[in-house]
Amino acid sequence: MSEQPLLSVENLTVRFAMNRRGLFSPATHLYAVDDVSFHVNRGETLAIVGESGSGKTTAALAAARLVTAYEGRVVLDGQDVLPLEGEELRQMRQKVQFIFQDPYSSLNPRQRAEEIVRDPLQSLTDTPAAEQQEITERLFAQVGLRPEQRRLFPHQFSGGQRQRIGIARALATQPELVICDEPVSALDVAVQAQILNLLSALQEEFGLTYLFISHDLGVVQHMCDSVAVMYMGKIVEHADRKSLFNNPLHPYTAALLSAVPSVDKTLREKSKRILIPGDPPDPTQKQVGCRFASRCPVAQDQCRLSEPPLTEIAPNHRVACHLVDEKAISPL
């Protein structure tokens, strides 16, 4: 890749302390994100997909300095983010903004819509008040809200409109990277399309870079340029959109894809359902071998003994599976 990626995350690990069982027992940790590396190119969208508890949100939060990383490096726009403090951290926060999943709980019910949108300008920038007002007004138009709605409170808006407020707030400081954490999963299907189209249009207009977290593969396929699939704190497959969806190599990716119910009858008949039984194993227990082995339909002895590294098997296509070699053929 010739171009420098906007965000690159190297060997990021986030761990949470567990309750000790007794006073003298050793401290134990849950590794929510375990040695994860990915990068997002400027103006593109990287989607992180996975089931709940796979660590996708935690990875994004750590990259944005909203939870503390235990190990690793996060480079945003050439700047090492993790050691930043004070004023430098405030500067960095202008460049990274978040759109949250639940538009009902992520807006302060006591603030008017325009105050919510203006908030990041006040706390993160030194923009003069008059200019703040101007920016707020412009943002309302850009996300498709009417000017007279600026004075309303969150409860007076519908779910889709609230998400528009959340988007306007995220764009207030003119960020370079916007982290969208399941931005449409709390919305009705018809409203989802409105918000997704808005996000695409804004990306085009402002040259935004999205880190798009979702469990909905249809939405991911529609929005992203590349995809990272996470399972239990690890990236198991990381590829550009075409390679991943046309040739999913990791058995977990294939299973995820085959689990999505489809309206397309021919597709449904063509694709065989790959059933992965059971639930993910207990994350507090340290795993030996491949974390997916206990549910993998093609797992072999070596999968249970050693953990497969994330290896590049084709340009822009990395997989962590013992059973995938350079020929890039799915083991299923």
């Binding site: 089931e51 709940s52 519908s158 889709g160 009705d188 299907v189 018809a190 409203v191 989802q192 399309a193 409105q194 997704l196 189209n197 695409s200 469990h215 593969l217 249809g218 939405v219 396929q221 529609h222 929005m223 959109r241 075409k242 969806f245 046309n246 299973a255 995820l256 894809l257 085959s258 689990a259 999505v260 119910p261 489809s262 309206v263 397309d264 009858k265 021919t266 597709l267 449904r268 063509k270 694709s271 359902r273 059933l275 992965i276 039984p277 059971g278 639930d279």
Partner: protein
């Protein structure tokens, strides 16, 4: 044709709100045959769950009531039954699983006790037999080590397992109709696939009819034979799943299908913007008006749509759509 198991005719349910009464279900009629899987789709606030609650006799007390129409189940008129009789049918002949497996189980009882409770309430069997039956049921919904898991409390189970327990409770008395209200919305896709497989197998084994309420067209396509698209308390379109998804006649159905980014078999570089259905579902105040309630969001709207409620237009294969322009679109 045999007599349908469940026949709902011209059902009207009114909710009392601060702004007066609103018909949340407005002249809804449909039939459910034995062993059939019928799906309700639509956005939230369209009356899908209300229809289910009306059948179950579980409308919010003092707020919602059936004001017209009939619900015939297995030769009995449910709208006229006493609470006593209804309670005997509920959980026994008709049972329901809810959207949130986290909140619909009682956290202070073991799952075994909760399954046994249903069995003892509806069947004349001994306590010991009920516990044995509960283990069989858990086994049937594929929870490993069923006998030991009976002693677990809901918090010890994962979301998918809790939903399996809910299904076990719902199926405990071998109901004739199982109503599943968004059974997988709170679950991950892989778990959703497991639950759907389970429901499909159980239906094959027991011959239970299933009413599946969802907003996911993909789920409907995989699970159901017939479907009803609801909008603002009314039926927008009804018919066989393949017919409706193949050639949707109502503009709302079209919108619902095309506004969702479906996973494609083969991905190319180009990305098309999604077709939008502008606006949102009308508020309760609009319900019941003599006009097409979808008109405000519809691009094919004409004067007629605003002045009269559309009548159903029938197509081949028992597909019908309530739209003035269904025939020409």
């Amino acid at each position: 044709m045999t007599e349908p198991l469940l026949k709902v005719q011209n059902l009207r349910v009114e909710l009392t709100t601060r702004n007066g009464t609103a018909p949340v279900i407005d002249d809804v009629s449909f039939e459910l045959h034995a062993g059939e899987n019928l799906s309700f789709v639509g956005e939230s606030g369209c009356g899908k769950s209300m229809t289910a609650l009306a059948i179950m006799g579980l409308l919010p007390e003092g707020i919602g009531r059936i004001t017209a129409g009939s619900i015939m189940f297995d030769g009995q008129e449910l709208t006229e039954l006493s609470q006593e009789r209804l309670r005997r049918i509920r959980g026994n002949d008709i049972s329901m699983i809810f959207q949130e497996p986290m909140t619909s189980l009682n956290p202070v009882y073991t799952i075994g006790e909760q399954i046994v409770e249903v069995l003892l309430a509806h069947q004349s069997i001994s306590r010991a037999d009920a516990w044995a039956e509960a283990a069989t049921l858990l086994d049937a919904v594929r929870i490993p080590k069923a006998r030991e898991r009976l002693k677990d409390y809901p918090f010890q189970l994962s979301g998918g397992q809790r939903q399996r327990v809910m299904i076990a409770i719902a199926l405990a008395c071998k109901p004739k109709v199982l109503i599943a209200d968004e059974p997988t919305t709170a679950l991950d896709v892989t778990v959703q696939a497991q639950i759907f497989d389970l429901l499909r197998d159980l239906r094959q084994e027991t011959g239970t009819s299933i009413i599946l309420i969802t907003h996911d067209m993909g789920a409907v396509a995989e699970m159901a034979e017939r479907m009803i698209v609801m909008y603002a308390g009314r039926i927008a379109e009804i018919g066989a799943v393949d017919d409706i998804i193949g050639t949707p006649r109502h503009p709302y159905t079209k919108g619902l299908i095309s506004c969702v980014p479906h996973v494609l078999a083969h991905v190319t570089d180009e990305k098309q913007p999604l077709t939008e259905v502008p606006g949102i579902v009308p508020s309760l105040r609009e319900f019941g008006k003599d006009q097409c309630l979808f008109a405000s969001r519809c691009q094919h709207r004409t004067q007629q749509c605003l002045t009269a409620r559309p009548q159903s237009v029938n197509f081949d294969g028992a597909q019908s759509a309530d739209c003035w322009h269904a025939g020409t679109l």
